[in-house]
Symmetry: C2
Subunit: 192 residues, 2 copies
């Protein structure tokens, strides 16, 4: 049931479903995502429940936009969620499930390729976040202490992404090194 609340939070200013999807692709990409086909019906249900209301507006280009806004009940629900303490779901990292069982292939080259691909993906995301932070620091004097309270919170979530992705990259490197050491030491597989 978190998407409801995430959307509720995003509606600090009135917005259409399409806008919210964009936000999942930009800011917020490092902690949540949803398809438009999930966002539209969810907004509809939230309106029925009285957390939102909507009006239809013409668009500059393309079809009319349905713009949603939080009601007072929505504001109360958001505050309740924020004060309810952290929502900690169990992790679901399929790639670690893969790695866990990859010994069965008896092919350390496969493991190496896997880790290199992982590293590439993590490093790409990490450096993307780093650029965001860098741009932010350029446009704000006395960064990060000079941020508004609102931006302080947004920046903190970005830091979480940076820290974790940095740790994942470092872990890939550590694991690749250990893999290499194993191969050098115990003479694996490929002797003729």
């Amino acid at each position: 049931m978190s998407l409801d609340h995430i959307l509720l939070g995003m509606l600090r200013e009135p917005a259409a479903g399409y806008d919210l999807k964009k936000e999942f692709e930009g800011t917020g990409a490092h902690f949540w995502s949803a398809h438009l086909s999930q966002i539209y019906p969810t907004l509809g249900r939230m309106e029925e429940r009285g957390w939102l209301d909507s009006r239809t507006e013409p668009s500059d280009r393309g079809p009319d936009r349905r713009v949603y806004r939080r009601t007072e009940a929505g504001e109360r629900e958001l505050a309740r969620w924020l004060r309810a303490g952290p929502e900690l779901d169990p992790p679901r990292l399929a790639y670690l499930g893969q790695l866990f069982h990859m010994g069965e292939l008896e092919d350390l080259d496969a493991t190496e390729a896997f880790l290199r691909e992982l590293r590439g993906a993590f490093e790409a995301r990490r450096s993307a976040l780093e650029s965001v932070e860098w741009a932010w620091s350029e446009s704000c004097p006395d960064f990060p202490d000079g941020l508004s309270d609102e931006d302080f919170h947004a920046h903190a979530t970005l830091r979480a992404g940076l820290r974790v992705l940095g740790a994942r990259v470092a872990w890939c490197d550590e694991t690749l090194e250990r893999l290499d050491r194993r191969r050098r030491t115990h003479d694996h597989g490929d002797e003729r």
Copy 2:
């Protein structure tokens, strides 16, 4: 569709649904979880698809056990999945969604309490993983280089958990410090 493959991997040795659930609570808790009510029908579907077969065995205590085993088709499917490259799903971290919008409460005490609770939860999980690694290192001479190839992979996933949880704890500390600095510098809210 990953649960199928995760279960397929876990069935290195024949096991019942109940056993697999236990594994999600112990080893593997840091990267996946599933309820029994999801595991049982999933195993059933996998048997229909021909990836598993099963036999019924009496239990030492309690009702009969339905023990599943991978078929050859199952082994092939597992190998295919492992070689298909890392499955990288978008993250879904509700607590970061909460923090992102917590500025709206205009209550830095609430943010502080939130971060402290997060830190507690992360540190608890981190130190639990650390104990697992420590026990492992005690029982294995020349740890970690002396591990079998199988255990090397399992250990690598454990290291991933340790690294990431360490990063999350450090992030909480960094954020709490910045929060403190903000309060000392800009004189927030509670002046009389």
